[in-house]
Structures are given as structure tokens and as C-alpha cells.
């Protein structure tokens, strides 16, 4: 719908109706985000927006503002062709792990290794790194359960990681890269700072990585969020 169509649509509705629909859209996104499943615009319109499709852009704008201001999340379009959205975290990954969420700590380590190795690593390197942290992908972990599954399935589905088969290897081998969500949520500068502290080394000495981390912000993402407070 065009801007003027949206305007006319809004005039026919009460503010309470628009608020109600916005709340429904927010809830829908949150439910999907719990499992980190991207939201397809087609599904959103069909299942939630329904009769309000003529003011869809306005509803989405309001939902994005709510995510930004209340939840510290950013609504991001990840696949402009198929109109898919995810929520990414606006809040920086803190240096000190939260007392509550250990999975993210492990993910941070994996992303660090990939970044430091130039953006792509063979899976064995990741498994060996985890073993050094006493997280054995072959065993059931007390906190994480099936570690291999968490890394190659859960983190991949959530788009924190890409896990791709390397062609023509026998036995089969895979490699890891950063996924779209990691690109959007995780600060490379932060990772470099963390590595610097870990190895007691000036982050600037990793020339390649330093340049990448401090090049223009990676927001190739088409953001729908106004991101102003």
C-alpha cells in the first residue's frame, strides 16, 4: 500500500485498534524469536495482520519502535527478496557473561575462533577448541546437552553460524562461518578486545582483523528500525 493509502486506512480505525494490532504483531515476532525462527512477511500478514493489511507498513513501523524502545531489539529484514525478518539484539554483548545464559558464552568463543582465523574454519578446529574448554562434542554436557547438535543445528537454525559441507572430502568434512544473525548482533571490535585481554596483546597487532573490525559498520542490513530513542 502507498503512503496515502495507509493514511486513509488509519483514518478509518481508532487508535486502540491500531495499538491492539501492533501488540499482536509484536507478540507474534517474540514467539518466533524465542526459537530464533525468521518471520516471513507472507505468514505475518496471513496469520496476524489479516484485515489490517492496508496499513501494514504503519503497523510494522510501530512494532519496530516497540522492539527498539522496550525490548532492546532491532527488527531487521534479512532476505529482501522473500521478505523475511529477524530480531537482533541492540544491546552490546557484555564483556562479563550474564549470570543466567551460558550458551551465549560458548557461541562467543566459536565466533571468535572463526573471526580470528579469517572468517572460515574447518569443523575440527572448533571441536578441538571446545574440548580444551572441557566441552566435548561427543559427550552429553550437563548444561548444553548434545553439544554437537546445539552447535551444528540450533546455532545454525538461529543463523548465528553457517555449517557447510566441504566438497570432495572423504570422510565428509564441514566448515563454519558466521551466520547473518552474528553479523548483525556481534561486535567484531568486542571480540578483538576480548582476544587482546586473553592473550595480553594489543588488538592492533592483528592487523587484518583490526581493520575488519573497525571498517565502516557492517550494516549491509536493510533495517526497518528508526533506531532513535
Amino acid at each position: 500500500p502507498s503512503t496515502s493509502q495507509v493514511q486513509r486506512g488509519l483514518e478509518k480505525l481508532t487508535p486502540a485498534q491500531v495499538d491492539q494490532k501492533t501488540a499482536e504483531v509484536v507478540q507474534y515476532f517474540l514467539v518466533k524469536d524465542q526459537k530464533k525462527i525468521p518471520v516471513r512477511r507472507a505468514d505475518l500478514v496471513k496469520h496476524v495482520v489479516k484485515d489490517y493489511r492496508n496499513i501494514y507498513p504503519e503497523i510494522l513501523k510501530r512494532a519496530a519502535r516497540t522492539f527498539d524502545q522496550v525490548f532492546g531489539l532491532k527488527l531487521v529484514e534479512i532476505d529482501p527478496k522473500n521478505k523475511m525478518y529477524i530480531l537482533v539484539n541492540n544491546l552490546e554483548t557484555p564483556e562479563r557473561a550474564s549470570p543466567i545464559n551460558p550458551k551465549m558464552g560458548l557461541l562467543f568463543v566459536i565466533l571468535s575462533v572463526i573471526f580470528m582465523k579469517g572468517g572460515v574454519v574447518r569443523e575440527n578446529l572448533i571441536w578441538n577448541t571446545l574440548k580444551k574448554l572441557r566441552v566435548d562434542p561427543g559427550e552429553k554436557h550437563e548444561e548444553f546437552g548434545d553439544v554437537r547438535k546445539m552447535v551444528t543445528d540450533e546455532f545454525v537454525r538461529q543463523r548465528y553460524l553457517e555449517y557447510v559441507r566441504i566438497p570432495h572430502t572423504e570422510p565428509i568434512e564441514h566448515e563454519f562461518r558466521w551466520g547473518q544473525r552474528a553479523d548483525a548482533e556481534v561486535s567484531k571490535a568486542k571480540i578483538l578486545e576480548f582476544m587482546g585481554e586473553l592473550h595480553d596483546q594489543d588488538p592492533k597487532t592483528w592487523i587484518q582483523q583490526y581493520r575488519e573490525a573497525h571498517s565502516t559498520p557492517t550494516s549491509s542490513q536493510a533495517s526497518t528500525s528508526s533506531s532513535q530513542r
Binding site: 501488540a23 524465542q34 522496550v70 532492546g72 539484539n89 544491546l91 562479563r96 549470570p99 543466567i100 545464559n101
Partner: protein, 247 residues
């Protein structure tokens, strides 16, 4: 009326969204962590005000961080609840229609019971009267373990109770749907499931086990706070909020 939220509030809310429920000890630690991470003022005695600020902004989304007591240990918990409808909407994306029907039937059993429990046998038997696609025995067992895993039910020795999170979240639903059946705890006025009951037939008040423990602590002869009859049940010990911190 809508107080200003900062990133400290937002981080707290994000963690609540991931966890669903945290105990008071965890909430305090998280509150401190969020304030320190975002260099905002931390006042140990202001947790509830901090949460009120979040709630004032959640209200338009029909969500709320609500406090409630665990019927097991008497400790306070904070749960992020969805008030969109007084129905189990929150669950409808995770469970199929027939699974939700079985959950409702389980709630019926638990609310209708004296002691707030339903045995797995009783739950399995209710599948006979299902109006949606009937669940097989193995499917029912699998569903029950999922409901426990997702923190809607708790299980002990083959008996199921409503979890703390479920009670906090579903309280308005239960009060509406089971108006004649549910009972409040005479001490704390919250809904009571697992509890002791006064045996005087004209009285019959309920008191949560942890509330019994606190109320009768140090009294020589326990008497019902409503009818003054002798309280014939074993008085449980007051449980220390064990500082075994997180899980």
C-alpha cells in the same frame, strides 16, 4: 505513567524472555548485573520498582513480569507472563490442538483434586474422552515430559502438579474458568493447589505447605486460623532459601 526505560531494563527483560521464570535470588543477581553492565544506579532494595518500570512499558503488549510463590519451597519467583487473552494462547504456538486439550484435562484434574496433583494413570485415562484426535499412550507420555521440560508442569514420582510458572501465568485463567473449584490460601490469598486443608467440615480452608510452615512456626498447639479447630496435619519445616544459587 510510562517511566523511562534504559538498557539496564531492556537487558533484564531480554533475560526474562529467554528464561521465562527466575527465582528471587536470581532476579536480584540479574538486576545488579544489568545495572553494572550499563553503568546505571543500582539500589538493592529497588528491584520491584525496577520491574514496575518495565511493566509500565510492557502493558500495551499485554505482557507483565509477575511475582508469585513456589508451592514447593515457599520462595518468590518472577515470571514473564502473557495476558493477551485469558486462555493458553502463549502455548498455542508450541502445542497441537489435541495436546492443548490434554493439558486442559490435566488442569481440570489438578484443580479438581484435593491435593493439587494428578497421577499419570489418571491423565492417561482422560484420553478416552478426548474430542480432538486421541493421543496414544506413548504420545501422552511424551507430551507430559515436554510439558515438564517447558516448565508448565512439575513431576514427582509419577504425580503431576502445576509448575510455579504455570500458576503465576495462568492464575487469571484459573480464577475465571474454575470459579467454583479453586481455593485461595487462607494465609497468602494466592490460589492454593498443594496445601493442607482444615478438617472441620464447616470450615475447610486451605493453606499452602510453605505457608503452614511459616504460620505455625513456634506455636505450641496448632489451631486453624479461621475456625480455631485443632490443626491435625504434620507441620512442615520452614525451608531455608538454600543459597545453592542457580540450579
Amino acid at each position: 505513567m510510562s517511566r523511562q526505560m534504559g538498557d539496564n531494563h531492556r537487558r533484564f527483560l531480554q533475560t526474562m524472555m529467554v528464561n521465562g521464570i527466575i527465582d528471587e535470588h536470581g532476579a536480584r543477581a540479574l538486576y545488579q548485573y544489568c545495572c553494572e553492565t550499563h553503568h546505571t544506579q543500582y539500589a538493592p532494595d529497588k528491584l520491584d520498582e525496577f520491574i514496575d518500570t518495565i511493566n509500565s512499558r510492557l502493558q500495551p503488549m499485554f505482557m507483565q513480569i509477575r511475582k508469585g510463590m513456589s508451592e514447593d519451597n515457599g520462595q518468590q519467583y518472577y515470571a514473564l507472563v502473557n495476558m493477551a487473552e485469558t486462555d493458553i494462547t502463549r502455548m498455542s504456538s508450541d502445542y497441537a490442538d489435541n495436546e492443548l486439550e490434554l493439558f486442559r484435562k490435566t488442569m481440570d484434574l489438578i484443580v479438581g483434586s484435593e491435593n493439587g496433583k494428578a497421577s499419570s494413570t489418571d491423565i492417561l485415562n482422560t484420553t478416552d474422552s478426548m474430542t480432538t484426535k486421541k493421543l496414544k499412550k506413548s504420545e501422552t507420555e511424551h507430551l507430559l515430559s515436554r510439558l515438564v521440560h517447558d516448565k508448565w508442569l512439575s513431576e514427582k514420582r509419577g504425580e503431576y502438579t502445576l509448575s510455579t510458572r504455570c500458576i503465576i501465568e495462568m492464575e487469571p485463567y484459573i480464577r475465571t474458568m474454575y470459579q467454583d473449584q479453586f481455593k485461595e490460601c487462607h494465609i497468602c490469598r494466592n490460589i492454593a493447589f498443594q496445601c493442607q486443608i482444615c478438617e472441620n467440615p464447616t470450615c475447610g480452608i486451605k493453606i499452602h505447605n510453605p505457608c503452614v510452615a511459616r504460620y505455625f512456626k513456634g506455636r505450641s498447639e496448632p489451631r486453624c486460623p479461621a475456625c480455631d479447630d485443632f490443626w491435625p496435619h504434620e507441620i512442615p519445616e520452614v525451608k531455608r532459601p538454600h543459597s545453592q544459587s542457580r540450579r
